[in-house]
Amino acid sequence: MSGPVIEVSDLVVRYGTATALDRVDLTVGAGELVALIGPNGAGKSSLVNAVMGIVRPAGGRVRLNGRAALVPEGRQMFADLTVDDNLKLGAWRRRRVPGARDTARVYEVLPELARVRGQRAGTLSGGQQQMVAFGRALMADPDVIVVDELSLGLAPKVTAGLAEHLRDLNRERGLAVLLIEQNARLALELCGRGYVLEAGRIRAQGTAADLLASEEVAAAYLGGPAGDVAAAKEAAMETAKETAKETAKETAKETSP
């Protein structure tokens, strides 16, 4: 696939008289991991909703070159349906494609879910629900996955485990990711490039290393001055790998009969 999978240009989103996004430009290339960080009320979720076609922009353009799937903020389970049914509904857009509803390929990628496939999604832990949300998005066979607040309400080690899954999906399947996060450190350590959204406008953009090294970004989002970026990134990678292993073990314990 050539060109960006998500191309947002001059995007304006309004709710009544309030402007949530004001002439926003953003691109996500094929197979790229891109972070979008910003404080509460910056317009991050409005951007997600506009990209996914859930809200209609007041101006500008959203162009998708391929299929996009969403891991929504707060997991958003179909609580009374089973994990398997939640996953199957992820294939709604491809429901007429033969075999599109086969959940086996998701259980291959996320084997933790296979053990709880018959369980009602509302009864799962937050980490498991986030994994179902991932799986549901994967069922759309997407070229790009939009993750809205990966870490929201989850323990750091659960978040790290999920981040590792995301990295694997990107590395092994070439899946592009747009990660919307309040936890700027997590987002910038995971992604290669990032944008900073404030009050509905893109305030900064660049490589993750540049943003991590930026004094402004560090002061506003990383809780202090910019440090040794490469060392911090390496340490975070190691922590993520360790915690991912721990989380997988714990999930196996939780879900084993």
Binding site: M52, I54, L70, P72, Q76, F78, K88, L89
Partner: protein, 287 residues
């Protein structure tokens, strides 16, 4: 004893009609969060249409099925007007359904006049322990059982049924996976129309209906549906059967005009009980 048995079975049949109506209300409310006050109108339209189809020579079975299909089409029309415009609030849609229910009076009077009408159902009676029960009552009970079983299978076994349940459970997540929630709402209105229509064609041989019978029907359907907080068809079925039996007993042993009072009183008691229960649960959760 024979009177009691007769009232019991007749009451169950009437209750089944209310249950079909209530399940339509529940289906629409679960998916769209709209209380559809035009639900009684679907039953009236289908009951009167079935009579017209029979009078022009359509055979039994086909006439009733065609009338239910007409009610489904009317359901779609009501749905398009009530929720067809994206962003319509549930309150605005409720007012729209109320208005459409009254507007339908004019059309119904133009087509069928203002006198109560009935059409023949399953003829004859069955004797059970000295009680004579109309065969139509057994037909109503049997069809209702089959419809509820089909509804259960539809919502738990089919992809479309699960998509409807998904819209009911979490409209945002449903949109996120690409389900068109407004279109699903229209599907719910069609289903609601057909369920109301089924109630109409089954009950009309037992109780003649006219253009304004929708008030009695919606009162009973709503009373049954509130037992399950307008969201649980199983509880609505229990509520409807209780209501049907209670009303038939009151009519049989006391006075037929007290029937609506029974429905309204029951609805009031359930709503008071539910609101006190909710308060107790909220207090418990706050501790």
């Amino acid at each position: 004893m024979s009177d009691f048995l007769q009232y019991l079975i007749s009451g169950l049949a009437v209750g089944c009609g209310f249950a079909l109506l209530a399940s339509g209300l529940v289906t629409i409310h679960r998916v769209t969060h709209v209380v559809n006050f035009a639900q009684g109108m679907f039953a009236v339209v289908a009951g009167l249409t079935a009579g017209s189809f029979l009078s022009v020579g359509l055979p039994h079975g086909l006439a009733e099925v065609a009338a239910v299909a007409v009610a489904g089409a009317v359901g779609l029309l009501v749905g398009l007007i009530a929720i067809g415009k994206p962003g319509t609030s549930a309150q605005s849609a409720l007012i729209a359904t109320l208005g459409l229910g009254f507007a339908a009076y004019a059309v119904e009077i133009m087509i069928w006049g203002d006198n109560p009408r009935s059409h023949p159902g399953l003829r004859g009676t069955v004797e059970i322990a000295g009680a004579y029960v109309q065969k139509q009552s057994f037909l109503v009970i049997g069809v209702t059982a089959a419809v509820f079983a089909a509804l259960l299978a539809f919502f738990t076994r089919t992809y479309l049924g699960k998509a409807l349940s998904a819209c009911a459970a979490n409209p945002y997540a449903a949109r996120a996976v690409g389900i068109n929630v407004t279109r699903m709402g229209l599907v719910a209105f069609v289903l609601g129309g057909m369920l109301g229509g089924a109630a109409g064609v089954l009950l009309t041989p037992l109780m003649p209906i006219s253009y304004n019978s929708d008030v009695l029907l919606i009162t009973n359907g709503f009373a049954a549906a509130v037992l399950g907080a307008l969201n649980r068809p199983g509880l609505a079925l229990i509520g409807a059967l209780t209501l049907g039996v209670a009303e038939t007993m009151v009519a049989g042993y006391y006075e037929a005009s007290y029937q609506t009072v029974v429905a309204l009183a029951l609805m009031l008691v359930i709503m008071i009980w539910q609101s006190s229960r909710r308060t107790a649960l909220q207090e418990e959760a706050a501790r």
